[in-house]
């Protein structure tokens, strides 16, 4: 029963990791951009949620209505204004620029919101739970997992059943030819970043309800997102969900043996998969 509990809790944790990772996976899939500032953008979204909830008294989940479009706008502006200038054959400039962005976001948040830990107050949702077969499951983790599945299904559907998705796939396959065919890749990249940051907004709000956050915690979250993306296979969204779940389960099982092994077990699972299948479990694009 205790093992079952560890596995179930780990699976639910995987949902959160998948949400952290979905935006990364999307951006990498479309424009081969490794976004080092992703973790800080999650924290930025949590702070936007905090501002909205304290200003209007809304429930954090309702605040998504404002925060998701706001983050999407930020994403589009960021891509068109900054990141598009750095994209090219060399992957180093965007890497460095997003690294700098990460530092700027952290210190900006520190300046505006101070170092006080904050949480998004979601009332009863924070602590509610249901008992299923002797295992007590929090409503919030269940909701997070459900949202993760819905988000990934939604992204997948967008990718394969809409004109926008076709544009994403086209620029992903070959930027220059897509451009020749009349797609404005700068605009497409902007939309991809907007979509990715919209997902990031959801991740940020859920993170803010689950635990307390301060400006410095973003970086620590980034690594799990990266690992989930790599385990699942670059550019494969369902793979990212599987990657998140594998990471979450490895962590809780490691913690079951000894809490000191929690993070280590996740990293080991990542390394083993990387050693056996260097492109991840379900790769869609090659490096």
């Amino acid at each position: 029963m205790e093992w079952l509990n560890a596995i179930v809790q780990g699976t639910l944790l995987g949902g959160l990791y998948a949400l952290f990772a979905a935006g990364l996976s999307l951006i990498f899939g479309v424009m081969r951009l490794v976004n080092i500032a992703h973790g800080d953008l999650i924290v930025l979204a949590a702070y936007l949620g905090l501002t909205v909830t304290t200003a209007t008294g809304m429930h954090p989940m309702a605040a998504l209505v404002i925060v998701v479009p706001a983050m999407a706008l930020i994403g589009y502006a960021l891509q068109r204004g900054l990141l598009n200038q750095t994209l090219g054959d060399d992957i180093l400039p965007p890497l460095l620029v997003t690294f700098g962005l990460s530092v700027i976001i952290q210190n900006g948040l520190l300046e505006v919101y101070t170092a006080d830990p904050q949480t998004l107050n979601a009332g009863a949702l924070e602590t509610a739970s249901v008992a299923v077969g002797g295992v007590s499951l929090g409503i919030l983790p269940l909701l997070t997992f459900g949202i993760a599945i819905a988000v990934i299904w939604g992204l997948q559907w967008t990718f394969y059943h809409t004109a926008l998705g076709r544009a994403f796939r086209a620029v992903s396959d070959n930027q220059d030819i897509a451009q020749l065919m009349g797609l404005n890749r700068r605009h497409i990249f902007g939309l991809a970043m907007a979509l990715a940051l919209g997902v990031t907004a959801i991740a940020g709000i859920l993170l803010g309800i689950r635990t307390s956050f301060d400006p410095s915690i973003g970086g620590g979250r980034l690594i799990f997102g990266f690992e989930a993306v790599i385990i699942g296979g670059l550019g494969n969204l369902w793979g990212t969900l599987v990657g998140g779940v594998i990471l979450g389960v490895a962590q809780t099982i490691g913690a079951k043996i000894d809490p000191g092994w929690q993070v280590l077990a996740g990293h080991i699972a990542f390394l083993v998969i990387l050693a056996v299948r260097p492109n991840g479990l379900f790769p869609r694009v090659s490096g």
């Binding site: 560890a6 924070e126 956050f213």
Partner: protein
């Protein structure tokens, strides 16, 4: 393409070498014997980063201190100007060591001070020790300070001194609180894999031994990695052991994760006493209604019956002054930051020869001062270079809309008055 090298000539070499040898004789820094000599104090604290909460009162304290120091301090009938140079450790131990070295070698400070957790205090003290600069630190339990720097009991350190409390005090204060509640003596421990967590959970020097001696059984699942996203295994272990008390040393995000997961998974302890995470009012506020009744150690509060040796204000006045100036509730590091400069001022006044570091150090060792956080006297410390200030147990209780840290157990320091009764959670 040809390159021409300037060949070294005998004359050129001799001129250069002579200049190099003679330079130190001319360039040696000499003190300007103008009106008043100046003493420089280096101050390292985590102004930014995750530990910034510890240093949020720095500006307020330094402003008041600088006002006192602006008239200069008397030493053997001579007035000394005192200059305080503050640097930010960015909550990073490597950065703390870097700025400490900068202060010592670049600014040539005469005394260096630091406060706030082993991550700030230890690297600064280590730099001071290597460079033989007098160093006074506080706001870090003495075990991580002493053993974390590989101190040898009986030998200690040459130039670095520390005042705060130790794990034995925190354990005594915690036990004092728990004894009053009459709950079952089963305790769950949450210790992270960091300097504090390892010291608290250490089988020999940490909580396990004294808890066992007092009749408590401790369930310690092991060290977890800080910034953990999941505590379900710890919660399962505590539930299985029937723990009614939870204790440990955590950072605020980890505690928030644990606390909401505990509720989700139906674990409702009656007493939760955590070090570090629950020190600050902002953290308790962020927990909403679920912050009510959490308990922690209290190193300083407006109720402490001490006053400043420098400005004469009482603990209450210092706290109220800070709240009035900043609009924020008082925090515990406020008193210690003030006390740190009280000790520095006292040392400056008493040293035989401020030009001589060893004379400053002997003034530090002979300190016997009643500060705003209690008596500081390195003559009666538990270990070389370390002395202790009183510690009591406190609980966050909601009064109206705001939380107040009430002192609920004081048998460790009876001079600090109890302000409320300990309540059970839930």
């Amino acid at each position: 393409m040809t390159r021409t090298f300037k060949t070294a000539t005998r004359r050129g070499f001799i001129a250069g070498a002579t200049a190099a040898i003679a330079a130190p004789a001319i360039l040696r820094a000499t003190r300007a014997y103008a009106a008043n000599p100046t003493l420089r104090i280096g101050n390292v604290s985590p102004r930014t980063g995750p530990l910034a909460g510890f240093a949020e009162a720095d500006e307020y304290v330094l402003q008041a201190i600088q006002q006192v120091f602006s008239a200069g301090l008397d030493n053997n009938g001579k007035t000394w100007n005192v200059e305080i140079i503050s640097k930010d450790s960015q909550s990073n131990p490597n950065r703390a060591a870097e700025v400490a070295a900068d202060l010592i070698l670049g600014d040539e400070v005469d005394i260096i001070v630091a406060a706030s957790t082993p991550d700030t205090v230890n690297p600064v003290a280590d730099q001071a020790e290597i460079n033989e600069v007098p160093c006074i630190t506080t706001d870090c339990p003495w075990q991580p300070y002493f053993f974390g720097r590989n101190g040898v009991p009986g030998e200690g350190f040459e130039t670095t001194y520390h005042f705060f409390w130790g794990l034995e005090d925190v354990i005594a204060a915690f036990l004092d609180m728990w004894d009053k509640t009459g709950v079952a003596k089963t305790v769950g421990g949450l210790f992270p894999n960091d300097a504090d967590g390892n010291a608290w959970g250490d089988a020999e020097l940490g909580l396990p031994k004294p808890l066992a001696a007092a009749g408590y059984t401790l369930t310690d699942p092991g060290r977890y990695q800080p910034l953990s996203d999941d505590f379900s295994n710890q919660i399962a272990a505590f539930k299985a052991a029937g723990c009614e008390i939870v204790t440990g040393n955590m950072i605020p995000p980890d505690f928030a994760t644990f606390w909401s997961q505990a509720a989700q998974q139906g674990f409702n302890p009656k007493v939760v006493t955590i070090g570090k995470a629950l020190l600050f009012p902002s953290v308790i506020e962020s927990l909403g209604d679920r912050g009510d009744g959490l308990s922690t150690e209290v190193w300083w509060s407006p109720h402490h019956p001490f006053s400043s040796s420098l400005t004469g204000i009482s603990s209450k006045q210092l706290a109220e002054g800070y709240t009035a100036e900043s609009g924020r509730p008082w925090t515990q590091p406020l008193g210690f930051k003030h006390a740190l400069f009280e000790v520095v001022a006292d040392v400056i006044k008493r040293a035989d020869d401020l030009e001589d570091p060893s004379s400053i150090i002997s003034a530090i060792t002979s300190t016997n001062l009643n500060t705003i956080v209690g008596p500081v006297n390195w003559g009666d410390g538990p270990m070389n270079n370390v002395t202790k200030t009183p510690l009591v147990g406190g609980q966050w209780q909601k009064s109206g809309d705001a939380y107040e840290l009430q002192i609920v157990a004081n048998s460790t320091a009876p001079e600090v008055p109890v302000t409320a009764d300990m309540k059970l959670l839930g």
